[in-house]
Symmetry: C2
Subunit: 232 residues, 2 copies
């Protein structure tokens, strides 16, 4: 009945780690490793082996007891789970510094996220070339999203324009948003928004630095930090 097998929901924390495992496994595959134990994968990923096993168990029982996991098959399964078995067209809003870096970076297309269009509200930017793509005026957004079935939008505008960008993306039919502007954007329920804010990251670091200094001056020491990288 259902064309995609419906599986148990995977915990957010696990979803956030799958891309890391995938990256490591892909590298191992390129290096010629065909099999890996949870212990080895855990070491490479810097996490606990039990966590690796539990994470992978959400995908199904793809390991072999006494042996480990077949790298190639695991790569296939993780890719499938992450929706990487086909391409996802994306649009980028904002052709400034950041928008240019993102499209020039090349990582999008290469990793299965072809850039269907870059948009800017500034007429001076429109029609310039950025990373080989012509910058389009914002009012062509809805048309491109529809024509190319875009479901993911990237916001690379200045902070003041970010909410408007998000609203336009949602109106155009985009359902997932990656926001690089240092501001929160609101979206209706059912739309997934992830914000990557460099200054938030810097402030978390300086909090730790600040504690280090405080601890040092009271002649004590601090320990390292484990980190995640998720969305909220």
């Amino acid at each position: 009945m259902s064309p995609h097998r419906t599986r148990r929901r995977i915990p957010d924390a696990t979803v956030a780690r799958l891309p890391i495992y995938l990256q490591i496994l892909s590298a191992q595959l390129d290096g010629g490793t065909s099999n890996l134990s949870s212990e080895e994968l855990a070491t490479l990923a810097g996490v606990n082996a039990a966590k690796v096993r539990k994470d992978l168990s959400y995908l199904g029982s793809y390991g072999t007891r006494g042996v480990g996991y077949e790298v190639q098959y695991l790569v296939y399964q993780i890719r499938r789970e992450l929706g990487l078995d086909h391409e996802w067209n994306v649009v980028i809003l904002g052709a400034g510094n950041l928008g240019q870096a993102l499209s020039g970076y090349g990582g999008f297309t290469e990793r299965g996220y072809p850039i269907a269009g870059i948009f800017d509200i500034d007429p001076d930017k429109v029609d310039t070339l950025v990373g080989g793509v012509r910058v389009r005026p914002l009012d062509e957004l809805a048309q491109v999203v529809a024509a190319r079935s875009v479901s993911i939008g990237v916001i690379a505008t200045p902070p003041v324009a970010a909410q408007d960008a998000a609203d336009r993306l949602v109106r155009a039919g985009v359902t997932s948003i990656l926001n690089f502007a240092p501001t929160l954007v609101n979206a209706p329920l059912g739309i997934t928004v992830r914000t990557v804010d460099m200054s938030v990251e810097m402030q978390i670091l300086s909090y730790h630095e600040q504690r280090r200094v405080a601890a040092a001056s009271s002649l004590r020491s601090v320990q390292a930090d484990g980190s995640r990288n998720q969305t909220a």
Copy 2:
């Protein structure tokens, strides 16, 4: 006895939200709002009011019952807790697309993280100007870190060079690292590393998109996603 008052440890989850509150509170302050309830702040931050109160309670009792929080004072306290009461010099490793975007962005200096130097291993890049700063050869790193008391380093190199960059930063004396390369970097215990990987973010989004599609085709619907952004 201790020059910096030692306070209870603040939970990681709270530390990750303080920059968000700070951003909102600063904007409110600029807009002339002098007082805010936990309910109002929670709405602006898109979180639960109890969470806001609990988070702020780790800083101390800075609210007034029946009234709310004085914005200006709270901004001061959060800034102090995050170590934003003074500047933190940073170095950027890698003067490619990303390194250029980061320095051109201007957000660093403006937000209290002056760029003490940009470094690249490529002789062709050395001595070019990036965001008004001269690119230096990598072997000047240690000297700059020492001379300018740099404790935060940003990795903006290609993935293959990231681990070497991290090693050099640690050797030079940097204790916090923000890694933008799409690869894990290892660092000794006591060094804080946070990784921001765009393709990880994209993959988390496509996971949700993929579920949306699967759910739609089995005539059910999905809900939105809350996100964090931390390090591991």
